[in-house]
């Protein structure tokens, strides 16, 4: 009793001390960061345009300036973007772009993973606290454990990437350092913060598991995510500055402060898109871990655990994936608004073929996600009611997938054109343009949500009196939304001009969102206190686990592909319209070359992820003491 009390006091004392420490840290942060930002040019226009040299107003006599003022107010030299020539790029015997491509992509893959995992770990931990179910807590801890090495791998690739860039693109990096100035130091400083929160969050998990300390632990998780998110948005600003520079004039001279340089027109769309995509990507990767563990074990209890873990990961991946096309749409709309030429280079120029590959990848993700849900229905007895829907959903998915991958223009020989009766097929040709693809993608998202909804319903029987009305309402919402999406796509896509075509896609997306939101609300109310049917974790076919491998591979490949298009829309510019790329690699490579590169980085990522999982498994392994060991040593 006394011991418990002492422990409690000790714990409270520790909690109190930690609270003070965190407060002190916050104060230090606020006062420490402010002068840095002031130095970065955020201290107002007067400071930035402080006069130097001999100053006078035109038409009047010179006003003498005190030496101390003149020497103390020196401004950095205003530098335009360098104009490089081929000889300014070191030749190391292999393609510099290929080296940077591989390092950057691996850094981004691991960066995305280690930023995403703590996000949903925090949510799962919070679910554990609110439900009182410790298994959530253990699963969240396990997710952190398996991704821990990823932080080091991210840093290693980040450092390697920086070195490669400074070595291979010195003028470009010099210019970027000049433009972003002290922001680089803030960025570096954030790694100390992130490391602090990461290690206290992970290693303090069991030390702060219950009571008020649990909330301290959750706060550490929040701060870890805060530091990680800040790191992400800072590094995003470099990429978006290269695509759509702001805060500089036409020749690249910095004319704004660091905030104006960062907040270019594409910054927030990229921030949102990467934030959502990271969560989906992270969920998919840890899902593969669960699937691997599921297949590897004979222990039924462990299989049940990893089945549940795999399901949760898939849930996170698909849930994050559903709004991703909408974030992507916003990003593309902003690209078009910034530069119609850049938008069309991506969507209608030589990169347009890339979106056929994107369709294959997203089709794979949706088919795998749906298949996993259908296979998961075997866990419950009540799922038989919904089996007929699976055929319908599969049919819609396949038709929409085929529509999505239908190209618009084909590179044909003269005889092929004669055979086809023109450069476009007279029936399938119209399926190649965006209105048809908008219809397809929205319908795919709607039926994927239907799969999820049926899965959720499969072990429940509604007991509320208005269940038939609720079901009828749900069916009506599906029908109206689907009809609306098809009508908007066909009418505005083919019978009006481009302006209306783009506008109608917003209404299509809204229809999809209405279905998702209405489904969640209606089911939430209708199945509250519903009768539950028996279901069993671990009762799922082994082949379903391969869907959990397909997801991260398709996600990884998709991220690589989107990286290729994001970088390529700059065409032959390091910084679009400001600094030309005159390196030997200043052309957009073919889609086939890009495909090879993306597969190389995907396989490398796969190997490093396996290493990460293996390291994580080492911590739970203990070598048995050899029988031949004696007190004096090995016999």
């Amino acid at each position: 009793m006394r011991s418990n009390r002492q422990q409690s006091i000790r714990r409270d004392g520790f909690s109190s001390r930690l609270g003070w420490l965190l407060s002190l840290l916050a104060v230090l942060l606020v006062f420490g960061v402010t002068p840095v930002f002031a130095d970065m040019g955020m201290g107002g226009a007067e400071q930035r345009i402080a006069p130097i040299g001999r100053v006078h107003i035109e038409g009047r006599d010179f006003v003498p300036v005190a030496d101390s003022v003149a020497s103390g107010a020196e401004e950095p030299e205003q530098i335009a973007a360098p104009r490089t020539s081929r000889k300014d790029y070191p030749n190391i015997g292999v393609s510099s772009r290929a080296v940077v491509w591989i390092l950057a992509q691996l850094h981004l893959f691991f960066g995305a993973l280690v930023l995403a995992v703590p996000l949903f770990v925090l949510v799962i931990e919070l679910v554990g606290v609110t439900t009182g179910d410790e298994r959530y807590d253990s699963m969240a801890h396990e997710f952190m454990k398996i991704s821990l090495t990823g932080f080091s791998i991210t840093a290693i690739f980040g450092g390697s990437l920086a070195l490669a860039l400074f070595l291979l693109y010195p003028d470009f990096m010099g210019y970027m350092m000049h433009v972003f100035g002290a922001q680089w130091l803030v960025y570096a400083g954030l790694f100390f913060l992130e490391s602090f929160f990461l290690y206290t969050y992970y290693y303090g998990w069991n030390a702060m598991r219950y009571g008020n300390l649990k909330w301290v632990h959750l706060s550490l998780g929040l701060l870890l995510n805060g530091a990680g998110m800040t790191i992400m948005v800072i590094s995003n600003s470099w990429a978006t500055f290269m695509m759509a520079p702001s805060g500089v004039n036409e020749v690249g001279v910095v004319v704004g402060n660091i905030w104006e340089v960062m907040k270019g027109p594409l910054w927030n769309p990229i921030n949102l898109h990467r934030f959502i995509a990271n969560i989906g990507f992270g969920g998919a990767v840890v899902g593969a871990y669960a699937a691997y563990k599921f297949l590897s074990t004979k222990d039924m209890e462990k299989r049940a655990h990893y089945d549940w873990m795999g399901y949760t990961s898939n849930f996170i991946a698909i849930l994050a994936f559903l709004p991703l096309p909408f974030a992507g749409y916003w990003l593309m709309a902003e690209i078009y608004a910034y530069s119609q030429q850049m938008g069309i280079t991506a969507m209608g120029g030589i990169l347009a073929w890339l979106f056929i590959v994107q369709a294959v990848l997203i089709g794979t993700i949706l088919l795998a996600g749906n298949y996993y849900l259908w296979a998961g229905m075997s866990r419950t007895e009540g799922s038989k009611r919904y089996k007929p829907f699976i055929g319908f959903i599969a049919f819609v998915l396949v038709v929409c997938f085929l529509t999505w991958v239908t190209p618009h223009t084909l590179m044909l020989s003269a005889s092929e054109i004669a055979q086809l009766g023109g450069s476009h097929h007279h029936i399938l040709g119209p399926l190649g343009i965006m209105p048809a693809k908008n219809i397809a993608v929205n319908l795919m998202l709607i039926v994927t949500f239907l799969s999820f909804q049926l899965y959720r319903r499969s072990d429940k029987v509604a007991t509320v009196s208005w269940a038939p009305i609720g079901n009828a309402l749900m069916v009506a919402i599906y029908v109206v939304a689907i009809v609306n999406i098809i009508f908007l796509g066909v009418y505005f896509g083919y019978f009006t001009n481009t302006v209306y075509k783009v506008g109608s896609s917003v209404a299509q997306v809204s229809s999809t969102l209405v279905v998702i939101i209405a489904g969640i609300v209606i089911d939430g109310l209708m199945f509250k206190n519903a009768k539950t049917l028996p279901s069993h974790w671990g009762r799922i076919p082994d082949r379903a686990q391969y869907a959990l491998f397909a997801l991260p591979i398709a996600f990884t490949w998709l991220m690589g592909l989107m990286g290729y298009v994001r970088s390529s829309v700059k065409t032959h510019w390091h910084v679009y319209t400001v600094m030309k790329d005159n390196s030997p690699d200043n052309f957009i490579p073919t889609i086939g070359y890009a495909g090879n590169m993306i597969t190389i980085v995907t396989v490398l990522f796969l190997l490093f992820v396996l290493f990460m999982f293996w390291v994580a498994s080492l911590s739970g392994t203990k070598q048995a003491k050899p029988e031949t060991v004696t007190e004096g040593g090995v016999a």
């Binding site: 679910v127 119609q340 590959v357 343009i433 491998f549 889609i591 495909g595 090879n596």
Partner: protein, 299 residues
């Protein structure tokens, strides 16, 4: 006890059945094989698509002595299709995002637009109108093709003489020649002069790393050193730096010279010290002298 899926988490209820784990090695190779196989399928898809490289614009030498108008028109067509990136937007409906110029007679269309009350430019003929529409596209926006929310007063088209397209005066003339000639109209633009050749030579160093050719005139020097990026030449409106329409009335030749070679010495009140400090190293004496005289005459 339930979880995110709403299902029972009790593992003890899972039936034993015939589900047994496989050996680690088998699972390892099957999953790795599946993953790499899937990645290769995606790679195969990319190999089946048309393989097109997006070449960066390359500088081409034009032999002015032997250049005929037919060559010039062909050059214009090439620029229209490639470096000018015109066909990205100017395509037939429904995929075009700008009027389908190739199916229109731009000479007769220009006459209609010059007579339109919405026209805000100063051109008098088709060549002038086409040039104006390339360097200042908002002077006349075709109904239905303006920027969203601008009520067809602002064009989404970029100025083709600016980055990222950066067509030279000669290249824009070639495009005008092509647009006139393609429908059998008389070509009214002249073949490029030696002055334009000098301009081209001045633009070459960025790609080739060769020392820039000296500017032949003060106007060329203004373009070569991008003075108009920061200074308005025809007005006193401040941009990054002050307008220079009447700079000769304010500053003497000596002061103008000093402000070019040592811009930090005197800074006009209210402007940042943003002028490059290396003109003294970059300009030839003759270029500096031409610029100083040209600016001093602006009164």
């Amino acid at each position: 006890m339930t979880n995110l899926s709403g299902k029972d988490l009790d593992a003890r209820s899972a039936p034993e059945g015939d589900r047994t784990g496989k050996s680690g090695i088998t699972v390892f190779f099957k999953t790795i094989g599946f993953s790499i196989g899937l990645a290769l399928v995606f790679t195969l898809v990319t190999q089946l698509l048309p393989q097109v490289e997006g070449e960066a614009p390359v500088e081409t030498k034009v032999d002015l002595a032997s250049l005929t108008m037919d060559d010039f028109v062909a050059m214009g067509e090439n620029l229209f299709m490639n470096k000018g990136t015109c066909t990205l937007c100017h395509k037939p409906p429904p995929i075009g995002r700008a009027p389908d110029i190739q199916s229109m007679d731009m000479v007769s269309t220009s006459s209609e637009r010059l007579a339109d009350e919405r026209y805000q430019g100063e051109s008098k003929d088709a060549a002038g109108y086409i040039l104006e529409s390339m360097i200042d596209p908002s002077k006349f926006v075709v109904v239905g093709w303006g920027k969203k929310g601008s009520n067809d007063t602002v064009s989404p088209m970029p100025a083709v003489d600016k980055a990222p397209i950066q067509l030279s005066a000669m290249e824009m003339d070639a495009i005008i020649a092509y647009l006139q000639a393609k429908d059998g109209n008389e070509v009214t633009v002249s073949l490029p002069s030696p002055e334009v050749a000098a301009e081209l030579a001045a633009e070459a160093p960025a790609a080739g790393g060769v020392a820039p050719a000296p500017a032949a005139t003060a106007e060329e020097a203004l373009g070569k050193y991008a003075c108009n990026s920061c200074h308005a030449m025809d007005s006193e409106d401040p941009l990054v730096g002050p307008g220079l329409a009447s700079v000769g009335a304010r500053l003497s030749e000596a002061e103008i010279r000093q402000s070019i070679i040592d811009p930090a010495a005197v800074i006009t009140e209210g402007f940042p010290p943003a002028m490059p400090a290396d003109f003294a190293e970059k300009m030839t004496v003759r270029e500096l002298q031409m610029l100083v005289q040209h600016l001093a005459e602006k009164k």
